[in-house]
């Protein structure tokens, strides 16, 4: 050992700060010039220091290692910090979502045919937000990707299944089977 005790605590603090994962005793003995027992002593000293000074975070033992962790009381603030704030869905994204919801599984080209405009960015948003997902490929030339709604979609709209989507009184009955093969929406 070639450092003063206080130096040891400082070094361990620095290492703990730079590690996104729990630091194991093994890694710490490899990196530093300390013995395991010394490291354990230093770690519990740091732990005690932080508690006594009522710092904003603590040194905790987790998953076979040590890491700095915050207190539950600060969770709501940390949530605001790390969670991206989502803007509301654009009209275009809502349109694409409604088409996918009622006509799934459906290909990108089929959505575009119904809307008459491209849907790349809206579909991207819906995929990112996990409202829509890929549901295999259509047995057609080019084997295009089929899209459908996710379980998250049901969850957020409070539906227990797709059958709970509001019905369309004006939509002609029948044609449920061939719906997936061609475009009978307005026939």
């Amino acid at each position: 050992m070639n450092l003063f005790p206080d130096e040891g605590k400082r070094l361990l603090e620095a290492l703990l700060l730079c590690s996104a994962e729990p630091l194991t005793l093994k890694v710490l003995t490899e990196i530093t010039d300390y013995e395991s027992s010394e490291i354990l002593d230093l770690l519990s000293e740091i732990q005690r220091d932080y508690q006594q000074q009522s710092r904003g975070f603590a040194l905790t033992e987790i998953a076979g290692g040590w890491m700095f962790a915050t207190y539950p009381e600060h969770a709501p603030y940390i949530e605001k910090l790390v969670k991206p704030r989502l803007s509301s869905l654009s009209q275009a994204a809502l349109e694409v979502l409604s088409i996918v919801a009622y006509r799934q599984p459906i290909t990108r080209a089929e959505i575009e045919e119904i809307r008459g405009v491209s849907c790349d960015s809206s579909l991207g948003t819906l995929l990112d937000r996990a409202l829509v997902e890929e549901k295999g490929r259509k047995d057609a030339p080019g084997r295009p990707i089929l899209f459908g709604t996710t379980t998250d979609f049901l969850k957020y709209f409070g539906l227990s299944s797709l059958k709970d989507l509001p019905a369309f009184p004006s939509l002609p009955a029948g044609g449920e089977d061939d719906r997936s093969t061609d475009h009978t929406i307005c026939s």
Binding site: E21, A75, E79, S88, S98, Y102, L131, F157, L165
Partner: protein, 254 residues
């Protein structure tokens, strides 16, 4: 005897010029242009000898230096110029550029020092993704309801229907190739011939045109033949029996 010449490498012609000025302890505001041009050309020649690839910018600067040198060698106009003051020195523009470049070069070395000291500082590392997983996923739909979905879908259907009305002509993907295959199959099944009119009935304009062109193509290739008993009478289309023997699969093979 083999010996290696180690030539200093420069970041460009300006860098080389500054080096020559500094190493010869010359006054940048009063560059002896003939002297500096000579040294510059020496470097270029040496570089060429040891096969050091220099960019074209070095040659361009050589041209500039030689031009300035030529202009300084020309006899100066002795008559007082229209405007008073000293005649413009051809080196001025170069000097100004060199001074500016030197400033940035100095700053670059300061950045290098800053880079070095900062390379020993580390910042807090955070695993954003696992941190994010601790919190429930954000609501991706905001205040939307199923009613919004159904209403939006109805609006899309309505606009789709009105769009189709105005477009009139639906797109069809009937190709001549496909029509040829279809016609061969139909005509082959009618040894007694088939009425031309019946082949064209009931389809869209686009399909009629495509069918007609397919018929012309088949006639041209001799796969079918046509007969008209009287002027303006019905035309009958017959399969060419020569192909029947070969067991024509009913598909057109080009």
């Amino acid at each position: 005897m083999d010996y290696q010449v180690v030539l200093p490498v420069f970041e460009g012609p300006m860098d080389l010029l500054l080096h020559l000025i500094d190493s010869n302890e010359l006054d940048i505001y009063n560059i002896p242009i003939a002297f500096i041009t000579g040294q510059y050309m020496d470097y270029l020649n040496q570089a060429q000898e040891i096969d050091l690839t220099l960019s074209g910018d070095f040659v361009l600067m050589a041209g500039t230096l030689l031009t300035i040198k030529a202009r300084t060698l020309l006899p100066k106009r002795t008559q007082p110029s229209e405007e008073e003051g000293a005649p413009e020195d051809p080196r001025d523009e170069l000097v100004e550029k060199l001074l500016e470049y030197r400033l940035y070069k100095e700053k670059a070395s300061e950045f290098k020092a800053m880079e070095h000291s900062q390379s020993r500082i580390f910042f807090r590392e955070v695993d954003d993704k696992s941190l994010l997983k601790l919190f429930p996923a954000p609501n991706p739909i905001g205040k939307l309801t199923t009613e919004d979905l159904s209403k939006t879908f109805m609006q899309i259907l309505e606009s789709m229907i009105s769009r189709e009305r105005t477009l009139q002509l639906p797109k069809e993907t009937v190709t001549i190739q496909a029509r040829i295959a279809f016609l061969l199959k139909v005509i082959r099944q009618q040894p007694g011939g088939i009425a031309f009119r019946s082949l064209l009935g009931g389809d869209s304009l686009r399909t009629v045109v495509t069918t007609f062109m397919a018929l012309l193509e088949l006639l041209h290739r001799g796969r079918i033949w046509a007969r008209q008993k009287e002027a303006f009478g019905e035309i009958y289309i017959f399969y060419n029996d020569l192909y029947r023997k070969e067991g024509d699969p009913g598909e057109f093979v080009s």
